[in-house]
């Protein structure tokens, strides 16, 4: 009988999981939707996400309508009546095209969700490997530092950092980020999410390093770096993949919350969260400005969560990684919200 690699077996299990595949399909559709932003903006809506159309009029089905009427109410969805302009209406008193902003905003939301999680995963992997491999003082120093971050109400820490950095930007040595850079929410979310990943990774390293293959590597003369990155890291791969997927879902929600409160993505950039923040002010007159970006977040996060669970089932059918990703075992810890 032919041997199969565990990765191939996992792939086969994933392929049979129709719900996970449907979720992946939904995610790809959302990705294509946001990637098509420039196309829609140029060819259909003939505008840009930040172009102001307050004083303009738009022709829909032979009827001329003001983009923003004198009472300050933006025009509602015109669908294709105006040739695709203001497909979802205008976004408020500035009269920007909601559909174009939705597509560009999604890029920002997804970019932050992915980059922040990538950053947190890299940091957590290095910290978890160091703490789990060296143990002793290294472990104590790393673990206690993470404990302190943990003792913060996460949202509160992220809001404080978001506020401070949005006002003043960030300056580390020669590196300077302005307050409106989207790198700021990426760094903040990556930073506050790191302990949630580093804990369980450290726990896994602690148990992995007692196994024979590590002993064998050491006997062959492998140094600490070789053992950590050549032997231990590959054994963490399936955990990391699942953590990554569930982390993206979690961090997109955190980004949305921060941006909604005005301490995440700063103008001129917009994300789905900050669009809800803007729409919320007009919720009684134009509720769709709140409903639609939120529904996009829900669909995206849902697709990532369902696919992430499918990945977990495929990679390790017996594991309880969802629990760990949220609870951060071996010692159970709270939910990162």
């Amino acid at each position: 009988m032919e041997g199969r690699s565990p990765w191939y077996l996992a792939y086969r299990r994933l392929r049979r999981n129709r719900i996970a595949l449907a979720a992946a399909g939904l995610f790809v559709a959302i990705l294509l939707f946001v990637l098509a932003a420039p196309l829609w903006a140029d060819q259909v809506a003939h505008t840009t996400p930040n172009a102001n159309h307050t004083l303009e009029k738009v022709e829909a089905r032979g009827e001329t309508r003001e983009v923003v009427n004198p009472e300050g109410k933006p025009v509602g969805p015109l669908w294709l009546d105006a040739g695709g302009r203001f497909f979802l209406g205008a976004d408020g008193t500035l009269g920007r095209d909601e559909m174009v902003r939705l597509m560009y905003g999604g890029r920002v939301s997804l970019l932050i969700g992915f980059s922040a999680t990538l950053l947190a995963t890299l940091l957590a992997t290095v910290l978890g490997l160091l703490a789990g491999y060296y143990r002793g003082w290294t472990d104590a120093a790393i673990s206690r530092t993470l404990d302190v971050i943990w003792s913060f109400p996460v949202t509160l820490l992220a809001i404080s950092l978001g506020l401070a950095l949005a006002v003043g930007g960030l300056r580390i040595g020669p590196l300077h980020l302005s307050g409106s850079s989207i790198w700021i929410p990426i760094l903040i979310i990556g930073f506050v999410y790191t302990p949630y990943l580093a804990r369980p990774i450290r726990g896994q390293v602690l148990s992995l390093r007692e196994q024979e293959f590590v002993e064998a590597a050491v006997a062959q003369g492998a140094g600490p770096l070789r053992v950590m990155f050549g032997e231990l890291l590959p054994n963490l791969a399936s955990t990391l993949i699942v953590f990554f997927a569930l982390g993206v879902a979690n961090n997109m929600l955190l980004e949305a919350t921060l941006s909604f409160l005005g301490v995440g993505v700063q103008p001129p950039n917009a994300s789905w969260g900050s669009m809800i923040g803007g729409g919320f002010e007009l919720i009684t007159t134009a509720p769709l400005l709140t409903v639609i970006p939120g529904a996009m977040i829900l669909l995206t996060v849902l697709s990532v969560n369902v696919f992430g669970e499918g990945l977990r089932d495929a990679l390790d059918p017996k594991s309880k990684v969802l629990l760990e990703a949220h609870a951060g075992t071996p010692e159970p810890r709270g939910t990162p919200v």
Binding site: P153, G168, H326
Partner: protein, 318 residues
């Protein structure tokens, strides 16, 4: 036991110290913030700004400013920059609304999480399990503040089924108290219902494979008795642990919900202070929140030792 308590107290003090230093630092590195300037107003004369700086000690070295502020936190003399209010008093005023919100939401989420988890695990893969899985995963994926906004618009403004916000004290009118809190409770608990019912379901499925479950069945207990007395009971410990930790950290979630439903609690106060870059209330609230997190961490450890005598208090885990 005494060793455990001493360790925990020392740990708590260290953590609170670190947390307060971090917040203090975050606010003092904001380059364009000048509390004296903003307190004096836009058209303030330099003399006025200078006198405020002197009065509040903004020119003192940072460590000294930190010590002064911390002393005020604990003596109750802390005054906010914005409006010069007594911070500890404002926090105490916010406690009824915030605690009502958090405790009520916690009761709701534990009830539904256990109900959903139990129903799911009874027939894994069945129709009910699949429906509840969809409900739970959706619950985990909903942006909380968005749900709050949607509820507010459709159920409160449009249909008028619920009040649009505000807090009625429990002592004044218990019915109105609950009526005003239904939407906030629901929004705050949905995420946890989704998460906890998933965790409980998976724990119960694990426990179902244990030998003692087979024994219980073999000695003739009905399936219902086996599920409640043996499986459910033994699956609850991790949920209760998770609950302790999440409940301690609930203040974060309360910020958004209190903001949208205009509940005059600690969360709303925190958010307003943050937006005004008003450091004293923020420091006090963060300490307050961190204290609860640390406290519930310790309670969880005690609870664990109580449930499982093999866990020794005082020795560090692992």
């Amino acid at each position: 036991m005494s060793r455990f308590v001493i360790r925990r107290i020392v740990g708590t003090v260290l953590v609170l110290f670190a947390v307060s230093v971090i917040v203090f630092t975050i606010f003092n590195v904001i380059p364009d913030s000048n509390p004296a300037q903003s307190m004096a107003g836009k058209n303030a004369t330099p003399t006025l700004v200078a006198s405020i700086e002197k009065e509040w000690g903004f020119n003192d070295p940072l460590p000294q400013q930190y010590v002064t502020m911390m002393r005020k936190v604990f003596t109750g003399d802390l005054i906010s920059y914005e409006g010069r209010e007594d911070v500890d008093e404002r926090i105490l005023e916010g406690i009824p609304a915030t605690f009502s919100l958090c405790i009520g939401a916690a009761v709701i989420w534990m009830f539904f999480a256990i109900l959903f988890g139990y129903l799911s695990a009874r027939k894994p893969g069945g129709l009910l399990d699949r429906v509840l899985t969809v409900v739970s995963v959706t619950g985990i994926s909903i942006p909380e503040f968005w749900l709050a906004a949607v509820f507010l618009n459709y159920l409160a403004y449009k249909l008028g089924l619920f009040p649009s916000g505000g807090y009625v004290p429990l002592t004044e009118d218990p019915l109105q108290w609950a009526y005003h809190l239904i939407l906030p409770w629901t929004t705050l608990s949905i995420l946890y219902i989704g998460l906890y019912s998933r965790v409980l379901r998976s724990n119960m499925l694990d426990v179902l494979g244990e030998d003692y479950v087979r024994t219980a069945r073999a000695k003739g207990l009905s399936p219902g008795q086996v599920m409640t007395r043996h499986v459910l009971r033994n699956s609850l410990a991790p949920i209760v642990t998770l609950f302790g930790l999440d409940f301690g950290a609930l203040l974060g979630g309360a910020i958004v919900v209190e903001y949208i439903f205009n509940l005059n609690g600690i969360g709303l106060y925190t958010f307003e202070s943050l937006i005004n870059q008003d450091l004293p209330p923020v420091i006090a609230v963060v300490l307050f929140g961190a204290f609860f997190i640390v406290l519930f961490n310790a309670l969880v450890d005690l609870f664990y030792a109580f449930l499982d005598p093999r866990v020794k208090l005082g020795s560090s885990p692992q």
